[in-house]
């Protein structure tokens, strides 16, 4: 079973995403901030990371930079409510940038499937 690391500070979003991805047959481990997420990454064989941008302690972009430092070719999806970080060069290091919206979650699932398969 493919394992996804979800880094999301907002509890409802975290639960919603986790349940949706689990229904699609993925195993999801979740962290509520970048630091915890990076620790989980160290100790788990993860196939893909989904990361929010605006989070306390360490921003999603900083987290992304650290993920690259640890696992260069690990697929990463940015999942955020804010489109403006698209102009930040660091965000270009993600494999996808998906906006949380009414269709966001289904886009997210489709992208996950595209990147790592079902």
């Amino acid at each position: 079973m493919k394992k996804i690391l979800l880094i999301e500070d907002e509890t409802n979003q975290r639960i919603l995403c986790t349940e949706t991805l689990e229904k699609e047959g993925y195993q999801v481990i979740a962290a509520s901030n970048g630091e915890d997420g990076l620790n989980l990454l160290k100790n788990n064989d993860v196939n893909l990371v989904i990361v929010d941008i605006r989070m306390p302690k360490m921003s999603g972009l900083e987290t992304l930079a650290n993920i690259l430092g640890q696992r260069k070719n690990l697929p990463v999806i940015i999942y955020t409510s804010y489109p403006q970080y698209k102009t930040d060069f660091m965000s270009w290091a993600a494999d996808a940038y998906i906006i949380k919206s009414s269709t966001g979650l289904s886009e997210l699932v489709a992208k996950v499937k595209e990147l790592i398969g079902a």
């Binding site: 930079a65 650290n66 430092g69 260069k72 102009t87 060069f89 660091m90 270009w92 290091a93």
Partner: protein, 405 residues
Amino acid sequence: MPEKEKILTLILAGGKGERLYPLTRDRAKPSVPFGGIYRIIDFTLSNAINSGLRKIYVLIQYKSYSLQRHIREGWNIFSRELGEFIDVIPAQMRIGTDWYLGTADSVFQNIYFLNQEKPDLVLILSGDHIYKMDYRRMIEFHKQKNADLTISVFDVPVQEAKRFGVLEVNERQEVISFQEKPENPVHSPDNPDMCLISMGIYLFNTETLVRRIIEDAKKPDSSHDFGKDVIPAMIGKDRVFAFPFTDENRKETKYWKDIGTIEAYYEANMDLVSVEPVLNLYDTEWPIRTFQEQLPPVKTVFSLGERTGMVLDSIIGGGCIISGGKVYRSVLSPWVRINSYAEVSESILLDRVNVGRYCKIRRTIIDKNVVVPPGTIIGYDASEDKKRFVVSETGIVVVPKDYQW
């Protein structure tokens, strides 16, 4: 002259210069002293400011104290109020825990600074080379060709090309192949004896640069080097052009030197004391600046037969005292002292070297602060010199910084 587009200059100054050991024992290659009063990086920095570039980051990592100090003392000349800067950026390991893995990685790890500035173009230079160039001509060429990347190129004989990145171009100057240090280099289209090599001068559209270094950063098997990885991957995908180096030195042969070895370093310095040096340091149209402290004038003293203070065919930095000794065909940095009856010829003496009475020094590089005891002979007996010092293949002796007898 206001810039039409926003250009950010990155000078990669992390070069170790291992083949210049022991001159690079305590300093990175760009910080190695040259020509009496300069450091190697002064040429690149001077080119940049003479070209009207005013936003410059110098990326450093290896043995960088000397370089940082030099830039702080000598190059703090811009107005931040006007958005101008020469900033030294040490390796910060913000992405991962590694030092810079390669030239492309050094830019990738500083993507934050690109993001802050959001320039239209990024000019990437090396702090390792000595040459004079107006980058504005290259920028113009880049725009004319509507290029994604322009690489400045220099002609070298085929047998020397193996040390460099070798380019193959079509009739439109578009690069169709790029090989780093190839065994069998492709010769230039108009001369079978010459190759086009990369001078390590890259002008990128920012967006292309960012996309390509990110792609490269995500490849686990890459060495994260522009020459080895990023540029070869761009050929055939992006618009990559070769710009033939235009030399502001304006001599018969173009001057671009990678001062990679002790021999090359020695020869480039010796060029400066010839009657008509190839490298012209006296051109007010293209000044080379550096850090210079306030120094008293050079002094020669004694004219008493054998005890005559004399300097011939040499260049001498401020504050030197030639006291009853003789100096021929040599380069003296500031504060050097030559004492009575000593004879120094075809040598390079760096700051504060003190040559004792009756010394005989020939074909020797003496690094900073060395006090040579009276009667010392260097450069006349290679086997004797080799017991104490690094001696190059051609017999140049190097006395390291702070050496104590």
